[in-house]
Amino acid sequence: MSSIPEPQLSSLYQELILEHYKRPRNRGELEGGTVEVHMRNPSCGDEIRLQLRVEGDAIMDLRFVGEGCAISQASVSMMTTVVKGGRLDDAMGLAKRFTEMMRGDPEAARDRSLKDLRAFQGVSKFPVRVKCALLGFDALQEAVKRARGTEGSPAVPGATP
């Protein structure tokens, strides 16, 4: 037989992931946001809207609303807990590291800066689900780029890639 289903499945649906899916953190509308990004995965329809309040180079607060599978929604939720209160550079670094882990880089998977997000390591073994896990981080990277581009100017919500 080629493989045993059960361990595979549990490496995908880790407790921590299910927990974030059922009880998402930082979900809802953000008052006084300075950047907003809407990301959609056209092939499966998963989507999120991510709002950030950036002051200087710090992410003071962020929230999201979204709809989609457990992997996409849990990864956004967990991502918000890790980047909240941190710097734009660190958020970009985290997104890069997370993406490397999803592409199967074992070193990235050992990187402690990813914190709880390492729970998503198992997703890298399900190639069709990798893009679900990356949705929130793609939105984060876009939001940081825009925050840098619009520094000092008022929020420009709505525009979506």
Binding site: M1, S2, S3, I4, P5, E6, Q8, L9, L12, Y13, L18, K22, S43, C44, G45, D46, E67, G68, C69, A70, I71, F126, R129, C132
Partner: protein, 429 residues
Amino acid sequence: MDAPPPVKTSAQTRPRSLSSKLDVERLRRDFPALAQMVNGRPLAYLDNAATSQKPLRVLDALRNYYEHDNANVHRGLHELSRRATDAYEGARARVATWIGASSPAEVIWTRGTTESINLVAASWGSANLKEGDEILVSDMEHHSNLVPWQLIAARTGAKLRFLELDDEGRLILDALPEILDGGRVRIAALSHVSNALGTINPIAEISKLLHEAGVLFLVDGAQGAAHHGVNVRELGVDFYACSGHKMCGPTGIGVLWGRRELLEGMPPYQGGGEMIDRVERDYSTWAALPHKFEAGTPNIAGTVGLHAAVDYLDEIGADAILAHEQALVAYALDRLREVPRVRLFGPSDPGERAGVVSFTVPEAHPHDVSTILDSEGIAIRAGHHCAQLVMRRFGVPATARASFYFYNTRDEVDRLVQGLETVRSVFGD
């Protein structure tokens, strides 16, 4: 003129018995792909609305063609080209008989349903539609029977009108007389069977109403021909589009059937070799039907494979196939109703639907349902099924969809329902 009588949405065109007389175990042996293990379990292939598996008969026909007869068609005077041309035109004649066309000239080879519909929308549409005209579609349509019409509407100034769906996913045909009374609808494009809901539409009756109003009727038969058997003259339609790959044939081959006088009046869709008669510097004249619409080297092997598929399906019999699917759907609906808080989409009467069951469970998103079922060797589809208007109508982003063919079994339905237990054990509180 009297108003046409209201149409019963549950109308059926053929008697249905909810039991199967097929020797499924024997048929399954014709499909090598079905006899494999996936993730440690025997494959339960329940994604037939996406594409069907292929019987040995079709695989052998493809191999035999490439090993012995491969050449270009209508171009060489040598033996192999003659054989390839005979195979290509022989397949056309076979399909023409199978769908009840008056002549093989009415059967145009395409890449599939999508290309067939694009051909009609672009060719017929550009020659006939103008500002103020209306194209009638429905909220049930696959994107391939919607977007081509949006494109031609944008180019010609015509507008799209929509038939809506009732809560069981059936077309609300009571609205049709009033839409037609407006006198602006030129063509209607509706699916024979919904790929997202399984609803079988009463094509023959709709056709009557449309024709009384002088409206042409294109039917998207991607899910029709494969499961239902088709006679285009009995249905009384003007164009019928279908795909070989959903009916045991290869990918990349499909059919557009059209009434001869309509096809003759339509301009070519693409230009190139094969579709011309005489070529001058500034202009050309077109080949006769069907070649006017077949520019370039066609998918010759595809037609050979489709020929074998049609022979195979014909031996099983369209009525037996539909009866088997409906028996399975009836069983699946009963079993799924046992699943706590499951939501089922589409008609509740299995007699009104083909072998498609769309559902959601509250614990998990359809993609997660699909991943978990896949880990048990069960292949279903999850998503919007290229029918975003259907998803919007029912207020869901996606559904899980099991779709059956004549080789599926009750045992596979049982495994699907058991798989949903695993979903609950992973996602339940």
